[in-house]
């Protein structure tokens, strides 16, 4: 499932890294991070597996184009539910930080 998300984000041509960047880029960049599971348990088994996590994008400017690209990418992944979690402006760095949470079955 994470592979599909990775492929969809790569198709946006925006710079994304898994979990963190070893060295944060100068310009705009994104990170996607799994942070837990939400499996459906039935008959003492994990009947359906699901992972949850977040996608973050740091953009200088309004970021409307990037946000639209990322949301289209998230929509394209089958079995992935997402929502925009927060939008924050960092006055010290000038970044607009957009955060989405997702859950993928």
């Amino acid at each position: 499932m994470l592979d599909q998300l990775e492929a969809a984000l790569a198709a946006t041509k925006l710079p994304f890294a898994f979990a963190s960047w070893s060295e944060a880029p100068e310009g705009d960049y994104g990170v996607y991070t799994p942070d837990g599971a939400n499996d459906l348990e039935a008959d003492d088994e994990h009947a359906e597996r699901a992972i949850s996590g977040t996608v973050d994008y740091f953009v200088r400017g309004k970021g409307a184009t990037e946000v639209a690209l990322i949301e289209t990418a998230l929509d394209s992944v089958e079995g992935l539910a997402w929502r925009m979690e927060s939008v924050q402006y960092e006055s010290d760095s000038g970044y607009l930080h957009v955060e989405w949470s997702f859950e993928a079955a």
């Binding site: 939400n38 949850s52 977040t54 740091f58 979690e85 924050q88």
Partner: protein, 138 residues
């Protein structure tokens, strides 16, 4: 001809009517939320990253309110830490990260983990309340 009689219907009718009273409904909702909200706050405290402990100690439940027929409370990161930073901002920075701080989500995963338990506790509390209420209104 057979005759079937029911006893206690008047009392039952009174109980049902009393249950329809908005004050009763509000009281029942508050009763059901009380323990569940406390449990959620306790679990959040356990999951809060510990440095000075200011953030963990700032977690507090707001007074319950009923608005538009919905009764609720909020869990708040109240006040400021010892350096004068609003605890709400600090919690947000840890939860979501920034371009300079790596995120360490603790609110969303905790809420997800305890939601079912909280719902179970609320369901149990409502049944307890109804049981006591029906006995009292007899």
């Amino acid at each position: 001809m057979a005759t079937i009689s029911f006893k206690g219907l008047d009392a039952y009718q009174r109980q049902i009517a009393a249950l329809g009273n908005p004050k009763t409904v509000e009281s029942m909702c508050k009763y059901s939320i009380y323990d569940a909200a406390g449990m959620v706050a306790d679990e959040l405290k356990k999951a809060t990253p510990f440095d000075t402990g200011d953030l963990r100690d700032s977690i507090a439940l707001e007074a319950m309110v009923t608005r538009d027929g919905v009764t609720y409370t909020k869990i708040d990161f109240a006040g400021y830490d010892r350096k004068g930073v609003p605890n709400m901002i600090k919690a947000r920075v840890i939860e979501s990260g920034t371009s300079r701080v790596k995120k360490k989500p603790f609110v969303r995963p905790t809420i997800k983990r305890v939601t079912k338990t909280a719902e179970f506790m609320m369901d149990k509390a409502i049944n307890e309340y109804l049981s006591k209420f029906m006995k009292k209104e007899k």
